[in-house]
Amino acid sequence: MHIPDAFIPIGQSAVYWLIALVFIALALKWARKELDEEKIPLVAVLAAGIFAIQAFNLPVGMGTSGHLVGGALAAILLGSPYAAVFILTLVLLIQGVIFGDGGITTMGANIINMGVIGGFVGYYTYTGLLSVVKNTYLSAGVAAWFACFIPALAASVEMWIAGTFPLVPGLIAMGTYHAAIGIIEAVITAGAIYLVTTARPDLMKTSTEAAT
Protein backbone atom coordinates (compact mmCIF):
# COMPACT_ATOMS: atom_id res chain seq x y z
CA MET A 1 0.00 0.00 0.00
CA HIS A 2 2.89 2.35 -0.75
CA ILE A 3 1.28 5.62 -1.85
CA PRO A 4 3.06 7.16 -4.87
CA ASP A 5 3.75 10.91 -5.16
CA ALA A 6 0.95 11.35 -7.70
CA PHE A 7 -1.79 10.34 -5.25
CA ILE A 8 -1.64 13.14 -2.66
CA PRO A 9 -1.37 16.91 -3.33
CA ILE A 10 1.80 18.45 -1.89
CA GLY A 11 0.02 20.57 0.75
CA GLN A 12 -1.70 17.53 2.26
CA SER A 13 1.51 15.51 1.98
CA ALA A 14 3.25 18.16 4.09
CA VAL A 15 0.63 17.75 6.84
CA TYR A 16 1.18 13.95 6.89
CA TRP A 17 4.94 14.53 7.01
CA LEU A 18 4.56 16.82 10.03
CA ILE A 19 2.49 14.22 11.89
CA ALA A 20 4.96 11.50 10.87
CA LEU A 21 7.89 13.56 12.17
CA VAL A 22 6.35 13.68 15.64
CA PHE A 23 6.19 9.87 15.69
CA ILE A 24 9.68 9.57 14.17
CA ALA A 25 11.01 11.74 17.03
CA LEU A 26 9.26 9.47 19.55
CA ALA A 27 10.62 6.41 17.76
CA LEU A 28 14.17 7.78 17.94
CA LYS A 29 13.62 8.40 21.64
CA TRP A 30 12.49 4.77 21.98
CA ALA A 31 15.58 3.61 20.06
CA ARG A 32 17.91 5.64 22.28
CA LYS A 33 16.36 4.16 25.41
CA GLU A 34 15.93 0.54 24.30
CA LEU A 35 18.79 -0.16 21.92
CA ASP A 36 22.31 -1.13 22.93
CA GLU A 37 25.40 -2.78 21.46
CA GLU A 38 23.72 -6.18 21.60
CA LYS A 39 20.33 -5.18 20.18
CA ILE A 40 21.32 -2.85 17.35
CA PRO A 41 22.52 -5.65 15.02
CA LEU A 42 19.38 -7.67 15.77
CA VAL A 43 17.08 -4.77 14.90
CA ALA A 44 19.18 -4.11 11.78
CA VAL A 45 18.85 -7.68 10.53
CA LEU A 46 15.10 -7.60 11.24
CA ALA A 47 14.90 -4.50 9.02
CA ALA A 48 16.84 -6.29 6.28
CA GLY A 49 14.41 -9.20 6.49
CA ILE A 50 11.39 -6.90 6.35
CA PHE A 51 12.88 -5.08 3.35
CA ALA A 52 13.52 -8.32 1.44
CA ILE A 53 10.16 -9.88 2.19
CA GLN A 54 8.37 -6.68 1.13
CA ALA A 55 9.71 -7.31 -2.37
CA PHE A 56 8.00 -10.70 -2.42
CA ASN A 57 4.56 -10.00 -3.78
CA LEU A 58 2.26 -12.99 -3.43
CA PRO A 59 -0.93 -13.36 -5.47
CA VAL A 60 -4.16 -13.04 -3.46
CA GLY A 61 -6.58 -13.55 -6.36
CA MET A 62 -8.82 -10.79 -7.75
CA GLY A 63 -5.98 -9.69 -10.05
CA THR A 64 -4.09 -8.42 -7.04
CA SER A 65 -0.93 -9.18 -5.09
CA GLY A 66 0.36 -8.22 -1.69
CA HIS A 67 3.28 -8.65 0.63
CA LEU A 68 4.17 -8.49 4.30
CA VAL A 69 4.48 -4.96 5.66
CA GLY A 70 5.98 -5.99 8.97
CA GLY A 71 4.64 -3.32 11.34
CA ALA A 72 2.99 -5.85 13.63
CA LEU A 73 6.02 -8.15 13.44
CA ALA A 74 8.45 -5.42 14.51
CA ALA A 75 6.18 -4.09 17.27
CA ILE A 76 5.42 -7.54 18.72
CA LEU A 77 9.00 -8.82 18.58
CA LEU A 78 10.55 -5.70 20.06
CA GLY A 79 7.73 -4.95 22.47
CA SER A 80 6.80 -1.45 21.35
CA PRO A 81 4.80 0.20 18.56
CA TYR A 82 7.71 2.64 18.24
CA ALA A 83 9.92 -0.23 17.10
CA ALA A 84 7.62 -0.51 14.08
CA VAL A 85 7.81 3.23 13.47
CA PHE A 86 11.62 3.12 13.75
CA ILE A 87 12.12 0.18 11.38
CA LEU A 88 9.35 1.00 8.88
CA THR A 89 10.46 4.65 8.59
CA LEU A 90 13.97 3.59 7.58
CA VAL A 91 12.72 0.81 5.27
CA LEU A 92 10.26 3.21 3.59
CA LEU A 93 13.04 5.80 3.26
CA ILE A 94 15.22 3.33 1.35
CA GLN A 95 12.31 2.06 -0.74
CA GLY A 96 11.20 5.57 -1.71
CA VAL A 97 14.58 7.22 -2.28
CA ILE A 98 16.47 4.35 -3.94
CA PHE A 99 13.74 2.25 -5.56
CA GLY A 100 10.86 4.64 -6.21
CA ASP A 101 8.52 2.38 -4.22
CA GLY A 102 6.26 4.86 -2.45
CA GLY A 103 6.65 8.57 -3.08
CA ILE A 104 8.96 11.15 -1.49
CA THR A 105 6.24 13.70 -0.70
CA THR A 106 3.89 10.89 0.34
CA MET A 107 6.47 9.15 2.53
CA GLY A 108 4.99 10.87 5.59
CA ALA A 109 1.59 9.33 4.85
CA ASN A 110 3.18 5.93 4.23
CA ILE A 111 5.08 6.16 7.52
CA ILE A 112 1.82 7.03 9.32
CA ASN A 113 -0.12 4.17 7.70
CA MET A 114 2.36 1.32 7.81
CA GLY A 115 4.64 2.36 10.66
CA VAL A 116 2.44 4.27 13.09
CA ILE A 117 -1.05 2.81 12.50
CA GLY A 118 0.33 -0.63 11.62
CA GLY A 119 2.62 -0.61 14.64
CA PHE A 120 0.05 0.62 17.16
CA VAL A 121 -2.82 -1.54 15.86
CA GLY A 122 -0.50 -4.55 15.71
CA TYR A 123 0.98 -4.03 19.15
CA TYR A 124 -2.20 -3.30 21.08
CA THR A 125 -4.29 -5.94 19.31
CA TYR A 126 -1.55 -8.43 20.17
CA THR A 127 -1.18 -7.53 23.84
CA GLY A 128 -4.96 -7.28 24.32
CA LEU A 129 -5.66 -10.60 22.64
CA LEU A 130 -2.74 -12.36 24.32
CA SER A 131 -4.12 -11.56 27.77
CA VAL A 132 -7.38 -13.28 26.78
CA VAL A 133 -6.43 -16.23 24.57
CA LYS A 134 -2.91 -16.85 25.97
CA ASN A 135 -1.63 -18.00 22.60
CA THR A 136 1.29 -16.06 21.11
CA TYR A 137 0.89 -17.18 17.50
CA LEU A 138 -2.88 -16.80 17.30
CA SER A 139 -2.67 -13.36 18.93
CA ALA A 140 0.18 -12.31 16.63
CA GLY A 141 -1.60 -13.57 13.51
CA VAL A 142 -4.85 -11.76 14.29
CA ALA A 143 -2.95 -8.61 15.28
CA ALA A 144 -1.00 -8.74 12.01
CA TRP A 145 -4.22 -9.06 10.00
CA PHE A 146 -5.61 -5.91 11.65
CA ALA A 147 -2.23 -4.18 11.20
CA CYS A 148 -2.67 -4.70 7.45
CA PHE A 149 -6.43 -4.05 7.21
CA ILE A 150 -6.76 -0.87 9.34
CA PRO A 151 -3.88 1.03 7.63
CA ALA A 152 -5.47 0.14 4.27
CA LEU A 153 -8.73 1.77 5.39
CA ALA A 154 -6.76 4.79 6.65
CA ALA A 155 -5.05 5.00 3.25
CA SER A 156 -8.41 4.97 1.46
CA VAL A 157 -9.65 7.84 3.63
CA GLU A 158 -6.44 9.74 2.81
CA MET A 159 -7.01 8.99 -0.89
CA TRP A 160 -10.55 10.38 -0.52
CA ILE A 161 -9.33 13.57 1.17
CA ALA A 162 -6.76 13.88 -1.63
CA GLY A 163 -9.54 13.57 -4.22
CA THR A 164 -7.89 10.48 -5.72
CA PHE A 165 -10.41 7.76 -4.77
CA PRO A 166 -14.15 8.15 -4.13
CA LEU A 167 -14.80 7.31 -0.46
CA VAL A 168 -17.05 4.24 -0.47
CA PRO A 169 -15.72 2.42 -3.57
CA GLY A 170 -12.19 3.12 -2.29
CA LEU A 171 -12.96 1.71 1.15
CA ILE A 172 -14.65 -1.36 -0.35
CA ALA A 173 -11.81 -2.16 -2.75
CA MET A 174 -8.98 -1.34 -0.33
CA GLY A 175 -10.77 -3.27 2.43
CA THR A 176 -11.45 -6.30 0.22
CA TYR A 177 -7.90 -6.56 -1.12
CA HIS A 178 -6.23 -5.98 2.23
CA ALA A 179 -8.54 -8.42 4.01
CA ALA A 180 -6.94 -10.98 1.67
CA ILE A 181 -3.41 -9.53 1.89
CA GLY A 182 -3.82 -9.51 5.69
CA ILE A 183 -3.80 -13.32 5.62
CA ILE A 184 -0.24 -13.15 4.22
CA GLU A 185 0.64 -10.66 6.97
CA ALA A 186 -0.88 -12.98 9.61
CA VAL A 187 0.82 -16.20 8.46
CA ILE A 188 4.27 -14.69 7.89
CA THR A 189 4.17 -12.69 11.13
CA ALA A 190 3.28 -15.76 13.21
CA GLY A 191 5.85 -17.88 11.32
CA ALA A 192 8.62 -15.29 11.71
CA ILE A 193 7.90 -14.96 15.43
CA TYR A 194 8.16 -18.74 15.75
CA LEU A 195 11.53 -18.79 13.95
CA VAL A 196 12.99 -15.82 15.81
CA THR A 197 11.89 -17.02 19.25
CA THR A 198 13.18 -20.51 18.52
CA ALA A 199 16.63 -19.12 17.69
CA ARG A 200 16.59 -16.40 20.34
CA PRO A 201 13.97 -16.87 23.07
CA ASP A 202 15.36 -13.82 24.89
CA LEU A 203 14.52 -11.46 22.06
CA MET A 204 10.81 -11.33 22.42
CA LYS A 205 9.56 -9.16 25.23
CA THR A 206 5.86 -9.71 24.89
CA SER A 207 5.41 -13.46 24.67
CA THR A 208 3.84 -15.55 27.40
CA GLU A 209 6.34 -18.26 26.57
CA ALA A 210 9.37 -15.98 26.51
CA ALA A 211 9.26 -15.63 30.26
CA THR A 212 9.56 -19.35 30.88
Binding site: P4, A6, I8, A52, A55, A155, F165
Partner: protein, 111 residues
Amino acid sequence: MMETKKFVAVGLVVALLIGVVAVFLASSDPDGLESTALVVQDEKTLTGPAPEDGDAEAIGAGTFEYEAPMPDYSLGESGGTPGAIIAIVIGTILALLVVFGVGKVVTISKH
Protein backbone atom coordinates in the same frame (compact mmCIF):
# COMPACT_ATOMS: atom_id res chain seq x y z
CA MET B 1 20.35 -20.12 22.03
CA MET B 2 21.89 -18.68 18.90
CA GLU B 3 24.74 -16.22 19.30
CA THR B 4 24.08 -12.66 18.13
CA LYS B 5 26.74 -12.79 15.39
CA LYS B 6 25.38 -16.05 14.07
CA PHE B 7 21.78 -14.85 14.35
CA VAL B 8 22.60 -11.73 12.32
CA ALA B 9 24.54 -13.76 9.72
CA VAL B 10 21.78 -16.37 9.36
CA GLY B 11 19.14 -13.64 9.30
CA LEU B 12 20.92 -11.73 6.55
CA VAL B 13 21.39 -14.86 4.44
CA VAL B 14 17.70 -15.74 4.83
CA ALA B 15 16.73 -12.15 3.90
CA LEU B 16 18.96 -12.20 0.80
CA LEU B 17 17.55 -15.59 -0.25
CA ILE B 18 13.98 -14.33 0.13
CA GLY B 19 14.85 -11.25 -1.93
CA VAL B 20 16.54 -13.21 -4.72
CA VAL B 21 13.76 -15.81 -4.89
CA ALA B 22 11.27 -12.92 -5.03
CA VAL B 23 12.92 -11.70 -8.25
CA PHE B 24 11.86 -14.95 -9.91
CA LEU B 25 8.62 -15.82 -8.14
CA ALA B 26 6.96 -12.58 -6.99
CA SER B 27 3.57 -11.85 -8.49
CA SER B 28 3.49 -9.01 -11.00
CA ASP B 29 -0.18 -8.27 -10.32
CA PRO B 30 -0.83 -4.76 -8.97
CA ASP B 31 -0.85 -4.37 -5.18
CA GLY B 32 -3.99 -3.54 -3.20
CA LEU B 33 -3.64 0.22 -3.59
CA GLU B 34 -2.91 0.01 -7.33
CA SER B 35 -5.77 -2.44 -7.84
CA THR B 36 -8.10 -0.05 -6.04
CA ALA B 37 -6.88 2.80 -8.28
CA LEU B 38 -7.70 0.65 -11.33
CA VAL B 39 -11.13 -0.25 -9.92
CA VAL B 40 -12.14 3.35 -9.26
CA GLN B 41 -10.98 4.23 -12.80
CA ASP B 42 -13.24 1.44 -14.18
CA GLU B 43 -10.21 -0.34 -15.64
CA LYS B 44 -10.76 -3.38 -13.44
CA THR B 45 -13.69 -5.00 -11.66
CA LEU B 46 -13.39 -5.63 -7.93
CA THR B 47 -12.67 -9.36 -8.26
CA GLY B 48 -11.63 -9.49 -11.93
CA PRO B 49 -8.14 -9.89 -13.39
CA ALA B 50 -5.77 -6.94 -13.66
CA PRO B 51 -5.72 -5.21 -17.08
CA GLU B 52 -2.62 -5.90 -19.19
CA ASP B 53 -1.69 -2.26 -19.66
CA GLY B 54 -3.50 -0.52 -16.82
CA ASP B 55 -1.89 2.62 -15.43
CA ALA B 56 -2.81 2.77 -11.75
CA GLU B 57 -1.17 6.15 -11.25
CA ALA B 58 -3.10 7.86 -14.07
CA ILE B 59 -5.75 8.86 -11.52
CA GLY B 60 -3.28 10.81 -9.41
CA ALA B 61 -3.33 14.60 -9.62
CA GLY B 62 -0.04 15.14 -7.81
CA THR B 63 2.63 17.10 -9.62
CA PHE B 64 5.78 16.08 -7.77
CA GLU B 65 8.05 13.73 -9.69
CA TYR B 66 11.15 11.95 -8.52
CA GLU B 67 13.47 9.70 -10.50
CA ALA B 68 14.74 6.90 -8.27
CA PRO B 69 18.21 5.50 -9.11
CA MET B 70 16.89 1.90 -9.18
CA PRO B 71 13.24 2.25 -10.15
CA ASP B 72 10.98 -0.71 -9.28
CA TYR B 73 13.89 -2.68 -7.80
CA SER B 74 15.74 -2.86 -11.11
CA LEU B 75 18.78 -1.40 -12.84
CA GLY B 76 16.51 -0.21 -15.65
CA GLU B 77 15.25 -2.01 -18.75
CA SER B 78 18.70 -3.21 -19.80
CA GLY B 79 19.52 -4.61 -16.35
CA GLY B 80 17.10 -7.52 -16.68
CA THR B 81 17.04 -10.28 -14.10
CA PRO B 82 20.68 -9.83 -12.96
CA GLY B 83 19.91 -6.13 -12.45
CA ALA B 84 16.87 -6.97 -10.34
CA ILE B 85 18.95 -9.35 -8.20
CA ILE B 86 21.66 -6.71 -7.73
CA ALA B 87 19.01 -4.13 -6.79
CA ILE B 88 17.36 -6.32 -4.16
CA VAL B 89 20.72 -7.38 -2.69
CA ILE B 90 21.84 -3.74 -2.45
CA GLY B 91 18.51 -2.77 -0.87
CA THR B 92 18.60 -5.55 1.72
CA ILE B 93 22.17 -4.78 2.77
CA LEU B 94 21.37 -1.05 2.78
CA ALA B 95 18.40 -1.67 5.11
CA LEU B 96 20.74 -3.51 7.48
CA LEU B 97 23.43 -0.82 7.35
CA VAL B 98 21.07 2.16 7.63
CA VAL B 99 19.22 0.75 10.64
CA PHE B 100 22.54 -0.29 12.20
CA GLY B 101 23.98 3.18 11.58
CA VAL B 102 20.97 5.08 12.90
CA GLY B 103 20.86 2.76 15.91
CA LYS B 104 24.53 3.52 16.61
CA VAL B 105 24.07 7.27 16.17
CA VAL B 106 21.05 7.61 18.45
CA THR B 107 22.73 5.62 21.22
CA ILE B 108 26.15 7.24 20.81
CA SER B 109 26.02 9.56 23.84
CA LYS B 110 24.35 7.05 26.13
CA HIS B 111 27.42 5.76 27.89
